[in-house]
Symmetry: C2
C-alpha cells in the first residue's frame, strides 16, 4: 500500500472511530464516515467490505494496544529492586494504560455492542484483559517458584491483582466517563494500596 | 392508580425494557413499545412523558434492586458466627445479586447509554454500586472499631472487597454476556478466595 492509500485508510478509521463513539454502531452510516474522512464512498468500500468489517478492525486495533503493556510486564518486574517495587510500578502502569480516555470510550463501545457482535467482544476480551491476566499469571507463577511470592493458583492471583488495581477506577469510568473523579495522584495511591492488599495475601512468610 | 392502569403501566415498562435491551435506546420507538405492550400510543404517553422518561424509570427501578442487598448487609454480618463466615456469606450473596442475567443486561445498557444520559448513569452508579460500597464501608468501620477487622480507610477497604468479589465475574459478563463461563459453584469458590485475600490484609493481628 502506498503512502497516500495508507493515509486514506487511516483517515477512514479515524472518522469511523469518532462517529461510532459519538453515535454508536447503528447510528453511524458509511456515507457519514466517507464525508468525515473526506473520501468517496467508493474509497471506503475499497478499503473495508462493509461497516461491520470496519468496526471490527477498529476494535481489534484498540485491543492490540494492550500488547505494549503486556510486553513490558516481565521487564518491569525484572528491573525492580524487589517484588513490592515491581508490583507497584506495574500497577501504576497498568492503571495508566487502561484509563486512557480514548481506550475507555472504546471499551464502553465494545461492551455496548457485545449483544450485536458477541464474537468481536469475545476477541477483544481475549486479546486485551484476558491476555494481560494470563501474562501476569505466568510471571506470578515464576516469582512463586523462586520463593518471592506465595501463590497456589496463579490465574486467580492474577485476577485478584488486576481487579484490586483496576476494578474501582474502571467501573467509575464506565459509568461516569471523564467525570470519574480520579486524579493521577489518587490513581497512584489506589494502585499502591491495591499492591498492599495483594502482598498481604501472597507474600511468603 | 387502579389495578388495570397499574397493569398497563407495568406492561409498557416490560415491553420497553425488552426492546431497549434488544435494540438499544435509539433503535427503539414509542410505536414499537405500544405495539409490544398491546396498548395504544396514547396510553404510553399518558403514563410516560417521552421515551427519555420511560428509559430513566426503567434504569432507576433496576438500580433500586440493589436496595434489598444493601438492607441485608448488616444482618448477614450480625448473624454470622464470626467475621470470616459473615464476609463469605455476604460475598456469595453480593455476587449472586449482581450476576442476575436481567440486571447484567441492564447494566450493560446503562454503560452504553452513559454518553447520551450522563446524569442517569451517574444516578445509577450512586444508587447501586456506590451505595453498596458506602454501606460496606460503614460496616467495616464498625467491625474495625470492635477490633474484629483492621481497617484504616473503610471506603478503600469496601472497594477492595467489592472488586475482589465482583471484578472478574462482572467484567467477563460485560464482554461475554451469558457465556461468561462461571458456574454457581465456580462463583462461590471465587467469592471465598476473594474473602481470603481481603482478610489477609485486614484481619487483626
Amino acid at each position: 500500500m502506498d503512502g497516500r492509500s495508507a493515509r486514506k485508510r487511516q483517515a477512514i478509521m479515524d472518522a469511523a472511530t469518532k462517529l461510532f463513539l459519538a453515535n454508536g454502531y447503528q447510528g453511524t452510516s458509511m456515507d457519514e464516515i466517507a464525508a468525515l474522512a473526506e473520501v468517496s464512498k467508493q474509497t471506503v468500500y475499497k478499503n473495508f467490505a462493509d461497516k461491520r468489517q470496519l468496526f471490527a478492525e477498529i476494535v481489534l486495533k484498540a485491543a492490540s494496544r494492550a500488547d505494549e503493556f503486556i510486553r513490558a510486564i516481565p521487564q518491569v518486574l525484572a528491573d525492580a529492586p524487589d517484588v513490592e517495587a515491581g508490583l507497584r510500578t506495574l500497577a501504576r502502569r497498568y492503571l495508566a494504560a487502561v484509563m486512557q480516555p480514548a481506550l475507555l470510550q472504546l471499551r464502553r463501545l465494545v461492551v455496548s455492542e457485545a449483544g450485536r457482535f458477541p464474537d468481536l467482544a469475545r476477541d477483544y476480551y481475549k486479546l486485551a484483559p484476558d491476555h494481560v491476566m494470563a501474562t501476569l499469571a505466568i510471571q506470578f507463577d515464576e516469582l512463586s517458584k523462586k520463593g518471592m511470592l506465595d501463590i497456589d493458583n496463579p490465574a486467580a492471583a492474577a485476577s485478584q491483582y488486576a481487579f484490586l488495581v483496576l476494578g474501582l477506577p474502571l467501573d467509575r469510568a464506565m459509568f461516569l466517563g471523564a467525570e470519574h473523579g480520579l486524579t493521577p495522584a489518587a490513581m497512584n495511591q489506589h494502585a499502591d494500596a491495591a499492591v498492599g492488599v495483594f502482598l498481604a495475601a501472597h507474600q511468603p512468610l
